[in-house]
């Protein structure tokens, strides 16, 4: 600041304005020992100094447009002036050093410690060490994924942490019947599907994880694994392809598997058909549960229909891109990226009574009539739960 070059206005600006080195007359007038600052920098003073002694002259003679200036100039000048005076009185060394060079290491360390306490709390050392160890594990690849590519560490410490505020603050998810989720062993959570993009799956994952500590392993359509980025995120967060091989394998391994049998018919249905369950696929999920003898937990999700009310579709573009539909919502193409913000509807998740499948005999999974019966039973349960939740709900957003 001391060296800043201030281009004086008009005739070198002598009357009111200080140059870089010389204090302005206003400052000199204010300062008690106003002259004391002067001796430190006499050489820079131009020879035409004397008039500068006078108290603020309104304007330099012959300078046009100056009259209204003094008030503004005054304010600026004072700020500059204090700095100059401070520099002049403290020491010369302060002016020459590099901004960072002079701060002692101990000061850095204590600042760092304070920051660490601020971020990590009282026991910051182990916490920071943990965090560093986590970072190093990630950077060196020293972590374990299971055979589906599920990365429990990053899912817990990153994906869940990112989704949790959305679930709790934005959608204010309310869970009912959490006790119906088995605490261990395989189980198949069957849910309705809605919301144009599968946000309901993500929210179900984070809600179940927070309520029971178990990871829901979703079964996704093959489209999920064809799309870049989505594909790798899906595998890392525990999803796998919705095929009978994977479903049975996971259920046999005692995982909590999530399935949305409506698929694209469910999430891509128009807003006018909200909360009307679509066809439940071919009942493949029931055969998987029957083969492995795990219970089916029906889940009804209310609220996801309203986040992106689907009012239209661009089939030609969808075909071109190879996706099932290109949604048009009241906000989406209209507001651009802002239209991607989901509406903050209030969500209710109700887990129904588990439907046991271990009582049927061995060939049950190959009995199409039985499979259809169980499928219908699950579908009816979810549909009835949806209706009763809708009755209980005060309004969409509350």
């Amino acid at each position: 600041m001391g060296d800043a070059e201030i281009i004086p206005i008009g005739t070198r600006g002598k009357p009111g304005r200080g140059t870089g080195k010389a204090p302005s007359s206003a400052a000199r007038g204010l300062a008690a020992g106003g002259r004391s600052a002067e001796p430190t920098d006499p050489p820079t003073d131009p020879p035409v100094d004397p008039p500068a002694d006078e108290a603020i002259p309104p304007a330099a003679p012959g300078e046009p447009g100056a009259p209204e200036a003094p008030v503004e100039v005054d304010v600026e000048v004072e700020v500059e002036e204090t700095a100059v005076v401070a520099a002049g009185t403290s020491s010369v060394a302060a002016r020459e050093r590099h901004p960072l060079a002079g701060i002692p290491v101990s000061a850095w360390l204590s600042a760092f410690q304070q920051a660490a306490v601020e971020v990590f709390g009282e026991h910051w050392e182990p916490r920071l060490a943990q965090f560093l160890a986590f970072l190093r594990r990630r950077v060196t690849g020293d972590y374990v994924v299971d055979e589906y590519g599920f990365d429990a560490e990053i899912t817990q410490s990153f994906f869940m942490a990112a989704l949790r505020p959305i679930a709790q603050q934005w959608f204010r998810i309310e869970l009912r019947g959490v006790d119906n989720i088995p605490t261990d062993g395989g189980a198949l959570v069957v849910s309705n599907h809605s919301g144009t993009i599968p946000v309901d799956g993500l929210m179900t994952m984070v809600s179940i994880h927070d309520a029971t500590g178990r990871h829901l392993r979703p079964l996704g359509a093959d489209l999920v694994f064809r799309m870049p980025v989505v594909s790798s995120l899906a595998r890392k967060s525990g999803a796998t392809l919705a095929c009978s091989e994977d479903a049975e394998r996971m259920l046999r391994d005692g995982e909590l598997v999530g399935v949305w049998p409506e698929g694209f018919k469910g999430i891509g249905k128009p807003y006018s058909q909200r909360y009307k369950l679509q066809r439940f696929g071919r009942g493949g999920f029931v055969s998987a549960a029957l083969r492995t003898g795990v219970p089916i937990v029906p889940l009804a999700v209310v609220g996801a229909e309203e986040i992106y009310p689907l009012v239209g579709n661009i089939p030609a573009l969808a075909r071109l891109l190879g996706v099932p539909y290109i949604p048009i919502t009241p906000l989406f193409p209209l507001l651009g990226p802002l239209g991607l913000v989901p509406l903050p509807s209030k969500w209710l998740l109700e887990f129904g009574e588990p439907i046991r499948t271990d009582e049927y005999d061995d060939g049950a999974a190959d009995d199409p009539m039985l499979v259809f019966d169980v499928t219908d039973q699950v579908r009816e349960t979810i549909q009835q739960t949806l209706y009763s939740l809708l009755v209980q709900r005060e309004s969409v957003f509350r």
Binding site: Q113, E125, P126, L128, A129, Q130, L132, A133, F134, L135, R136, R137, R138, V139, T140, G141, D142, Y143, V144, V145, D146, E147, Y148, G149, F150, D151, A152, E153, Q156, D222, L223, F225, R226, M227, P228, V229, V230, S231, S232, R235, K236, T240, L241, C243, E245, D246, R249, D253, G254, E255
Partner: protein, 387 residues
């Protein structure tokens, strides 16, 4: 190796390094009396107790060798994966498919043949977004391979199944091996990982399984000595993600969109640096996992190396070209005011069914080690770490 009883084993494809080493390993088995190595060019290294016969399996002369030497076990390893080594795709196809046909025809005519062991590959399952997570032996590829190595292998397997139908008295064991990896292996996947900067497919992360070269020898040895018939997936336990593997190598990865990886691959192929066949590109995109339950329970083979250990052994021979971030973090960790060594939060329930990284669950900061090259102090001040 001398004396009356014991098997006489014919091994094809011994000119290549893996084939030569496997033939030697089989020769060391006490139940094997004699090993005859067959190939069109002599092997470049020491073949030990293997007697080499220069013959082309595409030629009926192979039948004479089988008859003359009274061969009772045939180990077919002469399936090549890269057109580069054979001198063109048509030669490769001829070697692979016609060679197998001739060999099987010769075996069918030879009454002395009792066992046939074929080294196949998990490439037959293909790699696509519609794949199940783990292929079992009974599954088919979701899309039939249209060209290249995968198609060759599919055809070879077809011929082998046909042979098994016609000669029901011959025990046929087909080993579908995952990508073989190790310090000495030269293959498309190892030359890919040997690139100083590893191109990956943007937005995808492939699951991979590896088989250590020592385990390949061991499994062939095991398949010769046992009498279990059938088709088996052979792979190390556990799964590595491609991104994880590249990080363990401490090499920088460059994510490129899929089409760019393809054109880069053909450029690298013409420069003879690496070979990116279409099936390898889809493998690097979608990855593949095979179920090895049958290998453990029916075949009774247990690989010594897990996937992660096999990869670590491969990586230990490669100098890191990246890893700056890790070094910076290690530096910060060292400069931290004295922190007692502690166990990392074991609250994370290690993914169920996950194997191959028991060292990573308990990981103290001070003893945090790079998995790939823990033995080597890679920063010149490795001794400075608090223990």
């Amino acid at each position: 190796m001398s004396g009356g009883g014991g098997k006489v084993v014919l091994v094809t494809g011994v000119s290549r390094d893996l084939g030569r080493r496997c033939a030697r390993a089989i020769a060391e088995d006490p139940s094997v009396r004699r090993v005859i190595g067959v190939d069109v060019v002599p092997p470049r290294g020491d073949v030990g107790g293997v007697s080499f016969v220069r013959a082309d399996i595409r030629n009926p002369v192979i039948a004479k060798i089988i008859a003359k030497e009274d061969v009772d076990t045939v180990v077919h390893m002469s399936v090549i994966a890269t057109p580069g080594t054979a001198g063109g795709r048509s030669t490769m196809k001829e070697l692979n498919v016609i060679g197998t046909m001739q060999l099987l025809a010769a075996c069918q005519k030879a009454p002395s043949v009792r066992d046939l062991v074929v080294k196949s590959t998990t490439t037959v399952y293909g790699a696509s977004n519609r794949d199940p997570a783990m292929f079992t032996e009974g599954m088919e590829p979701r899309r039939a391979p249209r060209a290249g190595y995968a198609k060759d292998v599919a055809e070879i397997e077809g011929y082998v199944r046909g042979f098994a139908r016609r000669r029901t008295d011959v025990r046929v064991t087909m080993l579908r091996c995952a990508n073989v990896i190790g310090p000495h292996v030269v293959s498309p996947i190892t030359s890919y990982f040997r690139l100083p900067v590893v191109p990956t497919v943007l937005g995808y992360d492939a699951r991979m399984q590896f088989l250590h070269e020592d385990d390949l020898q061991a499994v062939l040895q095991h398949a010769v000595s046992t009498d279990v018939a059938g088709t088996f997936n052979v792979a190390g336990d556990g799964v590595l993600m491609l991104s994880q593997a590249v990080r363990r190598l401490q090499r920088p990865a460059v994510p490129l969109p899929g089409f760019a990886v393809g054109s880069l691959g053909s450029a690298l192929r013409s420069a003879r640096v690496a070979d990116f066949s279409p099936e390898q590109q889809s493998f690097l995109t979608y990855g593949r996992g095979v179920d090895t339950t049958a290998m453990h329970e029916v075949l009774g083979f247990r690989p010594r190396y897990t996937t992660a250990e096999a990869f670590a052994d491969f990586a230990s021979g490669l100098p890191p070209t990246g890893g700056r971030a890790e070094r910076a973090l290690a530096g910060v960790a060292e400069r931290l005011p004295s922190t007692p060594a502690y166990a990392a939060p074991s609250a994370l329930p290690g993914a169920p069914g996950a194997v191959g990284g028991d060292d990573s669950t308990v990981l103290s900061l001070a003893a945090a080690r790079t998995p790939a090259r823990s033995a080597r102090a890679h920063r010149g001040q490795g001794g400075g770490r608090r223990g």
